[in-house]
Symmetry: D2
Subunit: 478 residues, 4 copies
Amino acid sequence: MSSLHEECGVFGVFSRQRQEVGRLAYYGLYALQHRGQESCGVVVNDDGVFYSRRDLGLVSEVFSPDALDRLPPGRLALGHVRYGTTGGSSRANCQPIQVNHHKGKMALAHNGNLSNAFQLRLELERNGAIFHTTSDTETIAYIVTRERLTAPSIEAAVSRAMDTLEGAYSIVLMSSTKLIAARDPHGFRPLCYGKMEDGTYVVASESCALQSVGAVMERDIEPGEILVFSDKGLVSHREHCRTAVPTPCVFEHIYFARSDSVIDGVSVQAARMRAGEILARTYPVEADVVVGVPDSGLDAALGYSRASGIPYGLGFLKNKYIGRTFISPGQALRVNQVRIKLSPIRHTVEGRRVVLIDDSIVRGNTSARTVSLLREAGAREVHMRVSAPPFRYPCYYGTDVDSQDHLIACRHTVEEIAEMIGVDTLGYLPLEALGEMCGCGSCCAACFDGKYPTPVPEDTRKDRFEAPLSQRPPKNIE
Amino acid sequence: MSSLHEECGVFGVFSRQRQEVGRLAYYGLYALQHRGQESCGVVVNDDGVFYSRRDLGLVSEVFSPDALDRLPPGRLALGHVRYGTTGGSSRANCQPIQVNHHKGKMALAHNGNLSNAFQLRLELERNGAIFHTTSDTETIAYIVTRERLTAPSIEAAVSRAMDTLEGAYSIVLMSSTKLIAARDPHGFRPLCYGKMEDGTYVVASESCALQSVGAVMERDIEPGEILVFSDKGLVSHREHCRTAVPTPCVFEHIYFARSDSVIDGVSVQAARMRAGEILARTYPVEADVVVGVPDSGLDAALGYSRASGIPYGLGFLKNKYIGRTFISPGQALRVNQVRIKLSPIRHTVEGRRVVLIDDSIVRGNTSARTVSLLREAGAREVHMRVSAPPFRYPCYYGTDVDSQDHLIACRHTVEEIAEMIGVDTLGYLPLEALGEMCGCGSCCAACFDGKYPTPVPEDTRKDRFEAPLSQRPPKNIE
Amino acid sequence: MSSLHEECGVFGVFSRQRQEVGRLAYYGLYALQHRGQESCGVVVNDDGVFYSRRDLGLVSEVFSPDALDRLPPGRLALGHVRYGTTGGSSRANCQPIQVNHHKGKMALAHNGNLSNAFQLRLELERNGAIFHTTSDTETIAYIVTRERLTAPSIEAAVSRAMDTLEGAYSIVLMSSTKLIAARDPHGFRPLCYGKMEDGTYVVASESCALQSVGAVMERDIEPGEILVFSDKGLVSHREHCRTAVPTPCVFEHIYFARSDSVIDGVSVQAARMRAGEILARTYPVEADVVVGVPDSGLDAALGYSRASGIPYGLGFLKNKYIGRTFISPGQALRVNQVRIKLSPIRHTVEGRRVVLIDDSIVRGNTSARTVSLLREAGAREVHMRVSAPPFRYPCYYGTDVDSQDHLIACRHTVEEIAEMIGVDTLGYLPLEALGEMCGCGSCCAACFDGKYPTPVPEDTRKDRFEAPLSQRPPKNIE
Amino acid sequence: MSSLHEECGVFGVFSRQRQEVGRLAYYGLYALQHRGQESCGVVVNDDGVFYSRRDLGLVSEVFSPDALDRLPPGRLALGHVRYGTTGGSSRANCQPIQVNHHKGKMALAHNGNLSNAFQLRLELERNGAIFHTTSDTETIAYIVTRERLTAPSIEAAVSRAMDTLEGAYSIVLMSSTKLIAARDPHGFRPLCYGKMEDGTYVVASESCALQSVGAVMERDIEPGEILVFSDKGLVSHREHCRTAVPTPCVFEHIYFARSDSVIDGVSVQAARMRAGEILARTYPVEADVVVGVPDSGLDAALGYSRASGIPYGLGFLKNKYIGRTFISPGQALRVNQVRIKLSPIRHTVEGRRVVLIDDSIVRGNTSARTVSLLREAGAREVHMRVSAPPFRYPCYYGTDVDSQDHLIACRHTVEEIAEMIGVDTLGYLPLEALGEMCGCGSCCAACFDGKYPTPVPEDTRKDRFEAPLSQRPPKNIE
């Protein structure tokens, strides 16, 4: 499943002693790379002086040994990975952003999407603001620093800013002396923190990043909470908590998050296995083997197998060398691109009735090719089970769902889809099972059911910040 | 398991019409990348003119869109991926090699190691030969072209050359009009061929590469066979067949090969699952879950689970972004490198008695860290099962086993190893079960049992070709 | 002479029809590269949509064929080359800068230094502005766009902004439909424009860039003038003209500018030859040959030769392959770095009394080594003549003169300097001859005489924008 | 003049103590870069172990600080710069080449072209030799190492090899303990050596490279001489001296060599100035200023000026930033490429009668554009004088003269050429003046007069080594 994208992952470090906090961020970003592969960046704060490295590319590409060595030790650091659509891909949009303002310096990393970004930006521009990027992050930076002109502290400025921000935002912010983590009152995007043996605090989008640097998770940042790490210790500001019903994004559990993460108290792997169990209960079938599409379908496949008693099998080999630089075969060569990336294992599927588990069907083409590979490898029957409901609605909180025109579930019934992708039977996770799956009463499932927890933005065109000058997006070619 | 390395993978194309054979080789090499990550290369033969691209790096690094576009269409192509030890890493050693000789041009790609390379080279040098590389491939090229001075055809020259070559060699060779595949009489290294829909023949080290380009496997090249692809069709020369007892390398099935490959008629996945079954029979244990170390331990884990009835679990998440450019944490940061690469999933292992399946224990350090991660994540007991016997002997046929000084099994008993890596119980695949595992009566298991199918080279120092001038290896820094 | 640096060069294009204006800017920047080698950038305006490419590096490094191809055709373009001190070298500071504001989009390229930048920035920050860079250019952008909130047009906003800007600024600015060139009332830095055969207007820091793209120079932009290029034609706004006595920088003629440029009506080559003539008159000497240090000493050497009657000689060969990536010999190797860059030609100097012409002596070390090379090559006497007065004062208008601590002329008499660099006699251009040299009554020669045409900034530390948070500069490592 | 190319430059170091000889070679190659810009390489010999770095690109591109640091100290080193035509440009052809042979190791760098290369290669191939490259250097390496099988020493092998080599070869060769320099009996290409203060010997194609590393030139290697540097001191072998009349290439003095070099006892600058004097005598003209086309026309222009009494002027500014990566303007933009590279200085030429000195007219196009730039800049008359006779014949000794089909002088009279390039008068250096110019009675001027000092090769096609397999050249795309 390659057409859905989370926008970002954030990481923050607050250490009691000067040490290689930039390297800690580097390792943390490796664990968050799945949340954004377009660009990444690290800012180190060494006694009030900020040193940064930001660029387009994977963590492994942006941070050469040399680049890493040039980050000095320090006590605070911020890291960010970002996914960006082709159009908005630009060095200027790389995070964390870093600004100088009247009261000092600030660096900011953000995951999510504001739903009132357009109005906020318009107001700021009317007051003389100029924007270097097209990202919401710069808008948040403006509002926080503007509040800071009169607020008694940076955390107070963040709190005042949260009065005007709407939508999804998990932010980590660094002043010259403080690290601040804040999560919007709905808690759309995850954010948690942990502690290392030497007392260093780390904040991250997902707990897997805490674990990767050897920190023990303390807890999630609560929806609406502002958590301040400083030399005075840890202070939690909760004035925005419970100002809204928490509606964490259900798609984190289904697809975005790593299965070794625990989000809002729920193991992602457990949720995915439950999805498989629910599917087994809802759409039982006589079959010989259950196989998952790697990597995100494997947990649900195991859940299905356990609940149904049908043996689990390793039905595919995924080529781990196919990366961003893979060159697709053109029309001239009759080579199937899916075949190069995903190879069916004949030993597991030949002559068998196969239950195939994937986490979504977006446009349908990839699923159709995967099914046909199984049949070529000798599968007698293919029964597809999808560990999520059908996508039908756009997301305004940070998920880059394909346009509705392309979403197969917007235009076709389940029966039609089954025929189009060539499976014998097809079953999607029922909408009403989402709560059971992710163990949460009130999560946001707007992309499935169209029920948005906040007012929907009026102008949702990607290029809305280009108005009034142009209908087309600017382009930073770098 | 990262300390064992296959030397190479080869790929060849013979097409009836001029087409993008270089691109076919590119896709084929992607499927063989696991056999060699140091360097790669493709040579295209367009009506007798050879065009090549060879360099240090992964297929994805060496072949930019630009580099791929500069390879012209043609009817024949050769591809190669290579693993090389640090010392011998050099652009000069990249394959396929390409030479001009009295009767024309030849390109050659080779997988394996000659056991009489030193003697052959000495003889050649005594007759005035000069060598640009330190690889066996150049020696083979010399012998073939020298025979070609008097042999009536290139295939006859290959056959005569095979009279003097000893050890492991699976070669694919290209003259201006012919593609030739040859495998040594012992058949140490795999080699097979297939056919595409349009009649194009492809030769590859493993069947997974045939499948990736959509070819249907015809069969393995037999030990000792010379197979000639030309405009006259396919001709098999079998004068070297059955001149030795076939002894294919058992380690291909245990570790090297991709689990979707079929080698000498045996599915690699099936062999690995059988190893797990044998381990379950041989070392039964009461436990709650069986987990494999990804990726190569997964099949055996599933076999163990099925044979023992203990549930299969997904106990680890492997970070797929950790590549060759990952920068290891130094001593200053107390960050565990294994933790970044391999994350235990608490949901699967917490409070459980875990059977842990891996395909080898080389030095022991990595296993020890992996076990300790499991314990940190709450595993109550850890019972390790290894899907191969202990390594004890050097390989002279193309596997780069660690020096005996470092091999933990050369210096310690199974009990000692169990204690050193911190497991409750430990069991290795019994030597006598290897035949059952790979379904072959006579495979080479010399690295386990020290029984070498050919005379062992007298001088096996890596820098033996440096003599008599120096004790130290030359160094091409590029 | 390598320790003095101009900060920037600017280039603008306004074409009547859509064409490859980005390429025009690329060629223009090649001709301005001597004014800044740290970074460069081009912004193309295609019907209101801005496309940009900016990065650290030379024009030849930043603009690969690919990068150039990705710039679309358009009708307006802006280009910039920049010199930056090591500390402030950063991608964020690359120009032209590009901002979105309430009334639309703007791109801006700037050459010079504001003398009241600190006060302006403070005021802006007090009103909530945030700064992404440490450059004056962002300050100018803020002031212009803030005025634009109420001004009837972009040119009116520029004019109002000029009421508050002090110091040196030659700017070229692009809105969605207009190209605007403006020069500060003192005219510190040059700016001129020309016309191509097809009616396209080009603006540039120096006339050599007009000539390089085949445009015919129309005239200099006058000090204080705002020149607007739009579909309505050319409009000149002169309300800031003659509000100050023009004081163009004399160092443009001595060192910065290319000798084929004509600045404020005076040929740079003619000025340099006049400097040589004045030196010949002022410090006559009996000698056999006059040689100039390439490239900037050659014109003055020819002037000296003509005025004195002593033959002109080609005394040095300058290695044209020594670039930014040249690796200096360390202490271990006793190789003289000057020798590699500059080779004396024995045939010209051996046994001769040599008059050596250079355009400056900064620290003295390079001059000393050059003189010693001449003596090694057999020069009997060396009489040095410098085509500028001694440097003694800092520049606040865009020239990066070395710190006064290092300037040899701040601490030593002419006699002492002569002895330190090992010449028989030494003569500097007399201060009072500067007017004759550059044919201008009122040029700024503050770096020689300390007479500053504007109030001097109170805080001139390079890191003044870092206050109050830190004493040390931020560092963007990219 | 950009269409004529020398093939190579060589550099060797022999030091009494272990030091950074690789860095010495690096600096030496910088001084020889004008002799070859396609590829370069350095091999360091550290106590018999060879370390090398070779690649396509300029010295500044191939040797990063990192790459230079990886070359260890040693006592011997070899360096090479190479020019190659587009077709033969390949990493495989980079020098120095490095081979292992029966008696040890050898590295070899070569400048020149064998005239009997084809026959030699054929013979070698008939005896079983295989060739990795298409260069003469590999042929020389084969012959030397083959002789070494029976010769008592490497220098004896070189001497025996010289019995069979014909044509132009200046070679520097390194065994594990010796550095050997040899020059063919005709002495076509230059070769000299010098000594550093610490007793280190350096060998180089041109004396400018000795000077650049601070060595004092001892003398030229004589035509036919073999000079051996070893721990036993310096030994000269002269058995091939005076076996032919020395015929050094006159084009070294006219164009190839750097003007600060002294070749076979004659200063290159002096020779070029004499060419200008001869032109002044032979084709006097009434004019106001003499200007040379930089860089190679400047010396002759000064000679013309001195002999004629017409003032010397600096008529052009050459853009020093135009390098190999410059992107030529296409047809769409009406921008003149010569204009970007070479800018006429109006101040010098406007309203004047100009004598224009260049060192050659190859196809005529560049000259025509240069002349037209002068006229645009206001030159009243343009009288062109060329400091060489017209090119009419191919060179078989290492100069890549354009094909005769393109040489303007092969198809047109002087009068026609004058009209084609738009000059008022035109004069070439008379053939009979070449001896006076370079101060040598017997130099090779075959490219001007067709008189070849050796038998001419029968097959002179560039792709002759491709036969018999193909008519087209192989292509290494790297």
